[in-house]
Amino acid sequence: MRARVLCGAFVALAANLAAQAPVTAPAAAPATAPSAPAGPNRAEFRVGGFMLSGERSYDYIGPKPAPATGSTRGIDVLLRASGIGVSVRSMSGTYGDGKLKIVSADARLLLFPPVFTIFGGYGKRALCGVSCRTNTIIMGGVSSTVSIGGSGLRTFISGAMLIAPELKSVAGTTTGASAAGSGIEAEAAILYRFPGAPLFVSLGYRTETFNIKATTSAPQAPEEVRGLRFGGGIQFGGR
């Protein structure tokens, strides 16, 4: 499955590059006049909030339970120049009867232009019920943002692999110990920036699967959180 996802993501990004290329061509201009800059490569600062309305599926000991509906709320901050940028995200969701919370936060380093970006990041993910199971996450992936001309609309697709290494506890205690895990995060969205105002809204779909591997004291715990993603915020710069 992961191979299919990553392969599909790369194919999509390659196609996106092809689609973006004509858009970024500078306008024909005489040598004496300033020429148009190439493509959506202006510096961008974006702060937004979002809400994920969907469901959480999980597998645990016993018969497979029905997906639990719920929502996740979060904040996303992006700061990027033409070839490099950083992104910070924090979100917290509640599903089912409200006793289960999923909290995560991560920071990512973005490389290359928005139309084809490779990113890597570091974060924490906690699944809290009666007690919390916390994982340290290392992530890597690709994303692509394509501006649809001067319409203010942008398409965004992203795919990443999440890896949670097994961590030993501090000697003599259980503090800091976490099981190994891995997962996938994928998102597709459109963003619209209002003309004449530094505001944007977004609509998309997001899914995140995460599988904590079995340990001697706990079984494997695969889960998936997916749903519609609504967002909005302020944006300066960018296309």
Binding site: G54, S151, I190, L203, Y205, P222
Partner: protein
């Protein structure tokens, strides 16, 4: 002996510098002084036949003829001839006065009678003039013994083009003014011109009197800075990128397809792989596809601020070039000078 030699040298030099026609007139006047009236008349008439004689010399010759025709000696008086000569003289020399060596009381009375009974014109007050700038006005002063219509025509001595035509009417004395600039360009070019003033006597006998003299114009070429008339649109930059149009199909397919894939195919590990597709997600995927497609075809291109600013700057530079050229041309016009030198003795 030395004194005599110096006197002869001085006389020779004076003769060498004097005009031959003036010498002839002096001969006529000498003959008049010697009471040889027919001789004086004959010599003076020869001056009138000389092509090179100026109007001033002709006037003096006519005075000698009038004086010879009406001397104090009664037997030699020819009243009709004298009166006709004086009328002819006063037509173009209304203010003419007989020199003391030629006149006497009776002749003065005859001059006054001629002045009363003929339509005479005097052109005076014309000197070298400098005309400056747009005003560019020069003038010729005319005076006559009765109101009339005065028409001024200035033509180049070479060629037939009329440079100036102007007129003044209904007054016995006044200035005929004319511009040396027209449409902010100098009319004259450097060269010689003939000024002709024709005076028309209103009503009565309707006499017409014409007097003419020379004019030398020193008019350097006035060059103007080129004022750009139209901006070169080919140098303007495109202010928008091209329409996105059909190029939106691919991003629409990608974002829609990705949404579809995520919501329907991508599921978690292990037993979660049996999960079903999310119909809401598929709906959103379709919506993203449609919206992207519509946005692409509705797109008018992205504004290129740098090019907009560049075009604005080019437009401002164009306006400034017009203003600068116009200001420069105005300065040149203001500082431009045409110097007109009137030669009243010339023809």
């Amino acid at each position: 002996m030395w004194v005599a030699f110096l006197a002869m040298t001085a006389v020779s030099a004076a003769r060498a510098q004097s005009n031959p026609i003036d010498d002839v007139i002096k001969l006529a006047m000498d003959a008049y002084q010697d009471f040889k009236y027919p001789t004086a008349d004959s010599i003076a008439r020869k001056v009138l036949t000389m092509q090179s004689a100026t109007s001033a010399q002709r006037a003096r010759a006519q005075m000698v003829m009038a004086a010879a025709a009406y001397p104090e000696e009664t037997a030699a008086q020819k009243l009709a001839v004298a009166l006709a000569t004086l009328k002819q003289l006063l037509k173009t020399n209304y203010d003419a006065k007989m020199p003391p060596e030629l006149t006497w009381t009776g002749l003065d009375s005859l001059v006054e009678e001629a002045r009363r009974t003929t339509f005479g014109v005097q052109v005076t007050g014309v000197t070298a003039q400098t005309t400056v700038g747009v005003e560019g006005v020069a003038k010729v002063h005319v005076k006559s013994n009765k109101p009339g219509l005065f028409r001024l025509i200035i033509t180049a001595k070479t060629g037939s083009a009329v440079a100036i035509v102007d007129s003044i009417s209904g007054t016995a004395e006044g200035d005929i003014t004319f511009k040396t600039m027209r449409d902010e360009k100098p009319i004259f070019s450097t060269g010689d011109y003939t000024v002709m003033i024709t005076a028309f006597e209103p009503g009565g006998r309707g006499d017409t009197v014409t007097t003419q003299f020379g004019l030398k114009a020193d008019a350097p070429i006035l060059e103007f800075a080129a004022v750009p008339a139209k901006m070169d649109s080919s140098k303007l930059l495109k202010e928008r990128t091209g329409k996105f149009g059909a190029k939106a199909i691919l991003p629409a397919l990608l974002v829609g397809g990705a949404g579809f894939f995520i919501s329907s195919q991508l599921h978690g590990e292990g037993r979660l792989a049996q999960g079903s597709a999310d119909s809401k997600g598929m709906g959103v995927a379709g919506g993203m596809f449609a919206v992207t497609l519509i946005a692409g075809f509705a797109d008018h291109g992205r504004v290129i601020p740098e090019n907009v600013a560049g075009n604005k700057a080019a437009g401002e530079a164009f306006q400034k070039s017009i203003t600068d050229a116009t200001t420069e041309n105005r300065r040149r016009i203001t500082e431009y000078k045409t110097v007109l030198t009137f030669d009243m003795g010339g023809r």
